[in-house]
Point group: C2
Chain length 545, copies 2
């Protein structure tokens, strides 16, 4: 992997990429003498996206990179000074100038892990002022990355393991970095490759691409290439004028297909020849610029057969309009017939690549049993996540932690009148309880100081809203949050993007079929330990009206 050579890649993720209220609150904390109070925040989401029952955690590498480089420059501090009250104590700005993440500790769900509502993706602790400032950039780096990885994983589940999925949504993304993030994390979620070259260069994502309609329409047929000759694949023997050779094949192909030899567009054929001269070992035709049946397909076959004579095998055709499944079936038939007719068996298995606004529903059709489609390019619907374009991640102060540690005061929950926005108290640990086949049964949150649950042991746990605890005896127990940064220092090398991708695929394969469904009425359960539930009860009782 050629990843992360370039520190500039995430230049935009820097300290001032934050909401102004983080800076105004920073001043508030500082003025109250609390800038250095110990605090802990948890980043999590409240509902799985897209009506499904799972999400994938992603974005951690970007967070770590951001945190390690976190430092306000002079220009940043000056800008903040220009938007804060003019009589702000200069000592506050000195405090900001000295700020870094050397006292920040982060526990995190590894990238590619399954993530469920309420289970922290990140636990961030450190001085109150600095961990507050981190809220917006961390949410920005985690939320979309996790959303698009989850979206990609759903598309992978629909496509099945055999179809190749190509992400090609850069032009539909929210600007340059949206595109880079989308390409990176759709690969993590299960896509095979991306059209985005920068994602290849900076993140090691495999890149793919061939030609567009503009390439085809740019040729009229009267162009004369400076060097029309192509040497045989084996490197021996004289070169051949590929265009002339294709013209000869065209007559045979048209006779075979029952077409007039003047019907296929000469410009399209010239474009295919030009492409084949540049990519003799990777020739692919885009068939639908003029007419698939009367032009694209015969021109492709003529050039492919001419290449074949020189020992090269064409690799694929692409369709970008019309009924993609139906056309793929018919094109495969034509390939089979032509393979027999011209005695070139490899032609049968030329890849059929399709694209054109493919969403989950269209993908399901293209991936059905018997489909002759091999590669599916998806842009808008992977990148923009149109079914739910944001994850709605939150970053919540662990108020109890703060008060117990810092002040020894009365523990209090944020018991707002909006029950949707309630937050669990206390510094927590999280465990995944697994069955004997390794499939996840439920996630359990408990207080950090409780003993780690043991495999084989019966546990009493509280499902959300339950009146009674239930019991579970997990065959295996997995701690979910790994110590990632300790006092600003990286604790262990982070897995590569490809490793995280493998973890995602493995994790998804172990998830029960009902939780893998795209619209799942059966939500995966996140339960509380008895002690955590008791704490919630006591706080609610203490504060209810």
């Amino acid at each position: 992997m050629a990843a992360e050579q370039d520190p500039e890649a995430r230049a935009a993720a820097r300290p001032l990429l934050t909401d102004l209220y983080q800076a105004t609150m920073a001043l508030g904390y500082w003025r109250a003498g609390r800038a250095r109070d110990a605090a802990e925040f948890e980043l999590f989401f409240r509902r799985c996206p897209f009506g499904g029952a799972f999400a994938l955690a992603a974005g951690l590498r970007d967070c770590v990179r951001f945190l390690r480089a976190f430092r306000l420059r002079d220009a940043d501090v000056q800008f903040l000074a220009s938007v804060l009250p003019p009589d702000t104590d200069p000592a506050f700005f000195e405090h900001l100038r000295a700020l870094d993440c050397s006292e920040v500790t982060v526990r995190a769900l590894p990238e590619g892990s399954l993530a469920f509502p309420g289970v922290p993706l990140l636990q961030v602790s450190g001085p109150l002022l600095v961990v507050q400032l981190l809220e917006t950039p961390l949410l920005c780096l985690v939320s979309y990355a996790s959303l698009v990885a989850t979206n990609a994983a759903r598309l992978r589940l629909i496509a099945g393991p055999e179809k190749r999925l190509l992400e090609m949504g850069l032009r539909r993304a929210q600007g340059p970095d949206g595109g880079l993030t989308a390409s990176t994390y759709s690969y993590l979620g299960g896509f095979d490759s991306s059209s985005n070259v920068l994602a290849g260069q900076l993140r090691g994502v495999p890149v793919a691409g061939t030609l567009a309609h503009s390439f085809v329409t740019s040729f009229s047929g009267s162009e004369v290439p400076p060097d029309p000759m192509l040497a045989p694949a084996a490197g021996e023997g004289p070169g051949v004028d590929l265009a002339a050779k294709a013209q000869v094949w065209l007559e045979q192909v048209c006779a075979h297909l029952g077409l007039g030899v003047q019907e296929p567009h000469p410009g399209e054929r010239a474009a295919f020849v030009a492409y084949a001269l540049a990519f003799p070992r990777a020739f692919q035709g885009l068939l639908d610029t003029y007419s698939v049946w009367r032009s694209g397909l015969p021109n492709f076959l003529a050039v492919a057969l001419a290449l074949g004579e020189l020992g090269y095998r064409a690799v694929g055709v692409r369709l970008d309009s019309g009924d993609l499944l139906q056309q793929a079936q018919e094109i495969r038939k034509v390939f089979r017939a032509a393979a027999a007719q011209f005695q070139v068996p490899w032609l049968e298995s030329v890849l059929i690549v399709v694209s054109n606004n493919i969403d989950e529903e269209a993908l399901a059709r293209l991936a059905q049993e018997g489909s002759e489609v091999n590669v599916i390019g998806i842009g808008t619907s992977v990148v923009t996540c149109p079914q739910q374009p944001s994850l709605g991640g939150v970053y919540k102060l662990n108020a109890l932690f703060l008060q117990l540690v810092a002040v020894g005061g009365q523990p209090r929950m944020k018991l707002t009148e909006d029950p949707e926005k309630q937050t669990l108290p206390g510094s927590k640990a999280a465990f995944r309880l697994l069955g004997s086949d390794g499939s996840p049964l439920m996630d359990m949150l408990q207080l950090a100081e409780e003993p780690v649950p043991q495999a084989g042991q019966e546990l009493r746990v509280w499902p959300p809203g339950a009146q009674e605890p239930c019991t579970v005896r997990p065959a295996q127990v997995e701690p979910l949050l790994r110590l990632c940064l300790q006092q600003g220092q990286l604790c262990e090398p982070l897995p590569s993007l490809a490793e995280s991708r493998a973890l995602a695929q493995l994790s998804l394969s172990r998830l029960s079929p009902e939780h893998r469904r795209l619209r799942s009425p059966a939500q995966y359960q996140v339960v509380l330990s008895e002690r955590l539930q008791a704490l919630v009860n006591s706080l609610c009782a203490g504060q209810s009206p």
Copy 2:
């Protein structure tokens, strides 16, 4: 405006931020001896977003910045070499190394202009290879910028001119740059400010923000600020212990509201006091952390009245949950009664700020006649454009232009079998035909070589799909595309973001009410000149099956 001081802002928009097929086609063109052929592309969209009848053009400044800096670095060329065939002629890579936009010319719709389907936002001409490579980055920079500006303009139309709109969607954006783009262009589209500090620093967007629930929950009430004293606003006289003063006011407020003095949360009050100490001239309370009526509102009033005694005026309250309109009405009543009771008339007009997943429908309710809401914060629904998360912009080779200029060959349209994907031939000019009141009647596309239409002159034009031309006599004619870059040189300074914002507001105000509607059955017409229509007809006739 403090804009554009920082060249790093769009570091991610660089030459390799492109689809791989642009690079493979580049090699194809080069191998065919056509790298330097003159070519022209047009960037446009085919349908107005969100079911409306207008869009705003945006993203041009980013494009110009990108084009002027366009240059492949050694590492970029090496990366391309690693993904192209190993036997590619090294002269191709030398060609890439020397590439820049010094021969590229761009005409464009100014940012903030109204844009309609089929009318180019950009016309890009120059050597075929380089203008092909520009496709993806230009689409990436223009499409989302225009989409979010249009979305913001719709929200502004719903909100009316009086309500202040704050964009606060950074955490919901597609990564860092998605957030920066969203903040910049929602301002262009008509928002008043953004929470995104970086958009303030780099783009001069006014920034706003105060405090979040975490600030409130971080206080238990037992904290002791190092300096609890606040000097009077006038700067004369002794300082006062603000917390103590607020406590005194709390008793009066609770008596007035009929609450027990122990009901309001002491931590919330401590948070308000801390914030007021830092921002005595800009105090704002977030009311719904615990209970608006039993805690947030009395605590706010106590601190606001204490500040008032020192000559400071609180500026606002914020609500982030529940029925925002209803609460705003009731809070305003409380403010009026308290203003009378405590003889502080300014309290009546304290701003009421609301937020919480506000979409177009919720906004319409909040903006209705008689609403007491003053400021509306919108995040997800402005940034993610959930009704249509991508514009679907396209960048089409002007095939006729290319062939006439470069080869003198047969003009041909891309006459695909998918009528949705047909493209108009020829290098075009575009004009907006206006009525005597300055309102746009229709846009007209014609061939570049046709004479400019004159105001007051009767024109015969072809609406899309019409069997007959119709006539129009515009009172004014506006050329739409301005020469922006000529042979890589900037032709005139680009307007500032604030100027583009003003243009957008002016343009929208002149649009007819039916075209300003959010769901408009009446699409704004884009018509063809007689000569352009004749060219289309002749090409279609020449190529139809």
